[in-house]
């Protein structure tokens, strides 16, 4: 499944070209170019402050680019609003589990179901068999089938992370972006999450930001190393680990 080889134009799902963003003169991302292919699982690593989270923010429209272009399926997204980008097929998981604590797991997933997204659509939305089946299917995948009627607030930290991944999966995005999906998880939970990730990449591209190198090794196909807002190195995990520049700024620590 990992396409490593010559990049064909039509295989490119997401293209960042010459992207720069500056906050009061500080360039958090500096002339960055990055290409993600369809069906690829890409891990972005790098030291703190390298601009990893900012890159995700730029793609999903949370932060506006200062210069450069971001094209998703040949559509320029830099001028679109967040919800429009989501509707194009980009899902984003935040670093801290971002779920609706006052609602149940079922309701969390239902809200994320991509129907009835307008005010009146939501008013007339019915939980049809189709919706219920889809929710069941996702809940099963994220190990929360037994907890459908549990309030999200009382889930464990790891379960919250899974729930948020599930909320994205139910939208069936073509590109899924996960910001540190295993942060704060126990070893057992990490193993399950790796298994989950390896299943959900079927048919979609995934960008993962991660610090845990063991976890990265267990999932990564292709790794991009960011440093000071620029790509320092890019390639297969084993090559990256041997790269002297990478060892110096990041892995050597």
């Amino acid at each position: 499944m990992p396409h490593i080889g010559p990049v064909v134009e039509s295989d490119i799902l997401l293209a960042l070209e010459g992207v720069t963003v500056s906050f009061d003169g500080f360039k958090a991302v500096n002339d960055l170019s990055l290409y993600i292919q369809k069906g690829e699982l890409r891990v972005i690593i790098g030291p703190n402050g390298a601009g990893k989270t900012t890159v995700l923010d730029l793609i999903c429209g949370r932060t506006k680019v200062s210069e450069g272009s971001i094209a998703f399926k040949d559509t320029e997204v830099t001028k679109l609003k967040e919800h429009e980008i989501v509707r194009l097929g980009i899902g984003r998981k935040f670093q801290n589990p971002s779920i609706y604590e006052d609602l149940t797991v079922l309701e969390n997933l239902e809200i994320s179901y991509p129907k009835g997204r307008g005010v009146f659509g939501a008013l007339g939305f019915r939980r049809t068999a189709e919706v219920a089946d889809r929710i069941d299917e996702i809940a099963d995948m994220i190990f929360l089938k037994e907890h459908l009627n549990t309030k999200a607030e009382i889930l464990s930290h790891g379960q919250k992370q899974w729930l948020e991944i599930g909320m994205l999966l139910i939208q069936d995005p073509e590109l899924l972006m996960l910001d540190e999906p295993v942060a704060g998880m126990s070893v057992a939970e990490r193993v399950k999450t790796a298994e989950l990730l390896n299943r959900i990449i079927e048919g979609r591209a995934v960008i993962v930001i991660e610090h845990d190198m063991k976890f990265v090794e267990s999932i990564a196909h292709r790794v991009t190393v960011l440093h000071q807002g620029k790509v320092l190195a890019e390639g297969r995990m084993d090559k990256i680990q041997e790269d002297p520049k990478v060892r110096e700024v990041y892995l050597g620590h």
Binding site: H83, S98, D102, E107, E110, A122, L123
Partner: protein
């Protein structure tokens, strides 16, 4: 019927049935005409608090300016009634007969253009909801599309309230100024000043209020209701789930405004006048207190809050006029600190478990249901 069925039926409808019985049967039976009319007046604030439950309790949009919308609804019907009362025969002694008396006193010689449509009853009925909703739309659209929220939004609603009140007071010839629009007599020829009319208006008010409660429940029970809770808790997540959050906030704010407008109209009809003192900053804050005390997550509780605080205000503000405002402020702080879910929260935590123990034979007190997902009331 199984216990579970009974319980879900009870939790869905018991509050509504009890409130209906209280308003339709108990109050008319035990209260004299004067007090029943007072209750009717209190209930007109019930419409406002229903809106506050939707937009403050569930969506987290605190508006300190619901008085504006209450006032706009109230002024709409007052203008209609005033025009009906200002026939050329009734106003023959004026220098310009046929226009409202206060206009004549302010040297106006013809009816201002924006008064003209209020000759029509159908227009007036629509305007009672449409005018507040339109003002709310402009305000909310401008703020929420720019992602102004939280305390900033509350401050802006407060400022708009001040502006509108000053405008009404300043434009005496067009609005009746500080005195408001007074001496309202008939509605389509029906004298609304008699005890009998007051009684009928009371029942109309109750019926409308119950309909509005059902409407509110319909909204809260739909997926829209859960999206509102989601917006309150994690606005950004909702946005990144593909929703245009601002549209939802605008919608709920407009609904709250339209409800307040209906309340204002019922107030004018039952009290017989509308004036800026009823819609200014202090009344707007009082409306939030009714809602907080009754329970901002409970439609029924909030209506009871409006009744209780208003009744207390009538009783105590006569006895201790200086102390009343302090008591009201203290009440608000106390409720916010100790019972954030208001009276309805206390009922959920203590009365409901007790009742289910007695009637449904629960062995142990079930843990209080989380207030927020209890969308029932």
């Amino acid at each position: 019927m199984t216990n579970a069925k009974l319980r879900s039926l009870a939790s869905n409808w018991l509050g509504f049935v009890l409130l209906s019985a209280l308003l339709i049967l108990v109050f008319p039976a035990v209260l004299d005409d004067f007090r029943l009319n007072l209750v009717g007046k209190y209930l007109s604030f019930g419409f406002v608090v229903l809106g506050l439950v939707l937009c403050w309790g569930y969506t987290g949009i605190l508006s300190l300016g619901q008085g504006i919308f209450f006032g706009l609804g109230g002024y709409c019907i007052a203008m209609f009634l005033k025009l009906e009362a200002s026939t050329p025969e009734n106003t023959a002694i004026q220098s310009t007969p046929g226009i409202p008396d206060f206009m004549d006193w302010n040297q106006l010689t013809e009816l201002p253009f924006f008064w003209e449509p209020f000759h029509s009853f159908a227009f007036t009925v629509i305007a009672i909801m449409a005018v507040p909703a339109a003002v709310a739309f402009i305000l909310a659209y401008a703020m929420f599309k720019r992602r102004v929220g939280g305390v900033y939004f509350a401050i802006i609603t407060q400022a708009v309230t001040a502006v509108l009140t000053i405008l009404i007071i300043g434009q005496q010839g067009y609005t009746g100024g500080i005195n408001g629009i007074t001496d309202l007599r008939t509605l389509l020829g029906w004298d609304i000043r008699t005890d009998e009319a007051h009684n009928i208006l009371y029942f109309i008010c109750v019926a409308l209020l119950l309909v509005c409660i059902l409407l509110g429940r319909f909204v809260l029970k739909s997926k829209l209701g859960r999206i509102l809770v989601a917006i309150r808790d994690k606005e950004e997540r909702v946005r990144f789930s593909g929703y245009d959050v601002a549209n939802f906030k605008v919608f709920v704010f407009c609904v709250a405004a339209a409800l307040a407008g209906v309340g204002g109209a019922m107030f004018t009809l039952q009290v017989g006048f509308m004036s800026p003192t009823i819609i200014g900053i202090v009344p707007s804050i009082e409306m939030v207190i009714f809602c907080a005390l009754g329970g901002r997550l409970s439609l029924i509780g909030a209506v009871l809050g409006a009744l209780i605080v208003n009744a207390a205000k009538t009783t105590f503000s006569e006895m201790f006029p200086e102390l009343w405002l302090f008591a009201m402020g203290g009440l608000f702080i106390g409720v916010t600190l100790f019972f954030p879910r208001g009276l309805a929260g206390l009922v959920d935590d203590y009365v409901v478990p007790f009742l289910s123990k007695v009637f449904l034979g629960d062995k142990k007190t079930p843990p209080p249901e989380p207030a927020v997902t209890k969308l029932a009331e």
